[in-house]
Symmetry: C2
Subunit: 218 residues, 2 copies
DNA sequence: TAGATTGTTAATCGATTAACAATC
DNA sequence: TAGATTGTTAATCGATTAACAATC
């Protein structure tokens, strides 16, 4: 509760998970829920749920639990997803196209407002309902749009350049799909999404399970 | 070095990062590299690099460093990416199509060998060079293919069912793109890739940077 | 040999888990 | 009031960082 301590990033990630489940519960017209019940839904321990929330305030009632709608709304505000968030996308390839068309984005008030590429064959074309702009115009265009989150969906070699352009345009948060280590100023947060890295971890696991011979658990 | 201790998952994730940079260094014909030099490349502290490797053995030479090619090959074997890994994909939507076409996969010896969907409008069609099969045939088909890693790229509502089908077909590692909490047997490892969750963390950051007023660092 | 750099041990840090007094 | 469940403090756990003896 005392805002002296900063919430750990893992707590923020879990907050997003709680949020998703709370939306489900709202749909099912569940009115209140206890931390123990949340545990059965999310698989995250009740103590951790309460601890995570405690970084931001008091949201529950002892002996009762949490009002689903209120808690969902509170997390909306914490994560700042209660109002529309604009996103810029750099890279109009397969992955970029999949992101623009991804229905989960607008479900959560994220809106892709502009797409950029450096390939002249693509510039000026449409990606779904959005025109593809020259990445050289990023700063100019964002001076109007004022988006603060950028999505990088370009090949590895172009990733740093895309990051530079986005930061220069006033973006201070990057979702990076390229398998590259980005250098950014300290006020910019980067979240990497790397399929290949995830697959490597799974690959390690598969090999180790195979070597132990698959136990017949469950 | 003593294999009594199990490597932490964060160490495995970093191993994949080291691997990527070592491939770059090989391209540039760099012969040896020290942990300090790796730090400048990857941004990961030298001490952590050495510690991470120490879970798996001795790979360097005091006073010299690491032979790039040897270390890359050693990590290949640790992550089990030295031989081709077959992947099954469930979900032939936009995201699935982007994954099949993603060049980074085959660069790293991951090969998507079959695509499944439950939409009869899609079954029998081609996705790039692969035929889309009925998800009901997953077990039958994998009894031949023997893939051990599955990729879930279906809508949230269908994710658990896809996971069940994959596990039933002998898969013990899942890369899940659906924003859902999957229940799986304990021998199955799940890695979640959730754009929206990542965006929520970034959204929190953007809001907090804005509230402090952007410092003029860097 | 002297200089460099490893692998490892010990110290630090931070996050998770457990326990419980406060409170509805 | 009695029962339930919170928010928080303290204990535990695990990962990161620092320091250094071993070694090329």
């Amino acid at each position: 509760m005392p805002p002296g301590q900063r919430a750990p990033v893992p707590a923020l990630e879990r907050l997003a998970t709680y949020h998703r489940h709370l939306l489900d519960l709202e749909q099912e017209s569940v009115v209140t829920i206890s931390s123990a019940e949340m545990e059965t839904h999310t698989g995250i321990p009740a103590a951790q749920f309460r601890k995570d929330l405690s970084y931001f305030g008091d949201f529950g009632t002892p002996g009762v639990g949490y009002v689903v709608t209120e808690l969902r709304a509170a997390i909306d505000r914490i994560l700042h997803v209660h109002e529309e968030q604009c996103l810029l996308l750099v890279g109009a390839g397969n992955l970029g196209a999949a992101l623009v068309g991804y229905p989960g984005l607008m479900e959560q008030k994220f809106r892709l407002v502009a797409v950029f590429d450096n390939n002249y064959a693509k510039i000026g074309r449409q990606l779904w309902n959005l025109e593809i702009y020259d990445v050289a115009r990023l700063k100019e265009i964002n001076s109007v749009l004022q988006a603060r989150i950028g999505v990088i969906a370009v090949p590895r070699q172009a990733a740093q350049e895309a990051a530079n352009a986005l930061v220069d345009a006033g973006v201070n948060a990057l979702l990076n799909f390229a398998p590259a280590t980005l250098r950014v100023p300290s006020h910019v947060m980067v979240r990497n999404v790397s399929f290949v890295q995830e697959l490597a971890v799974l690959s390690y696991h598969v090999a180790s399970v195979a070597s132990v011979e698959q136990p017949s658990d469950r």
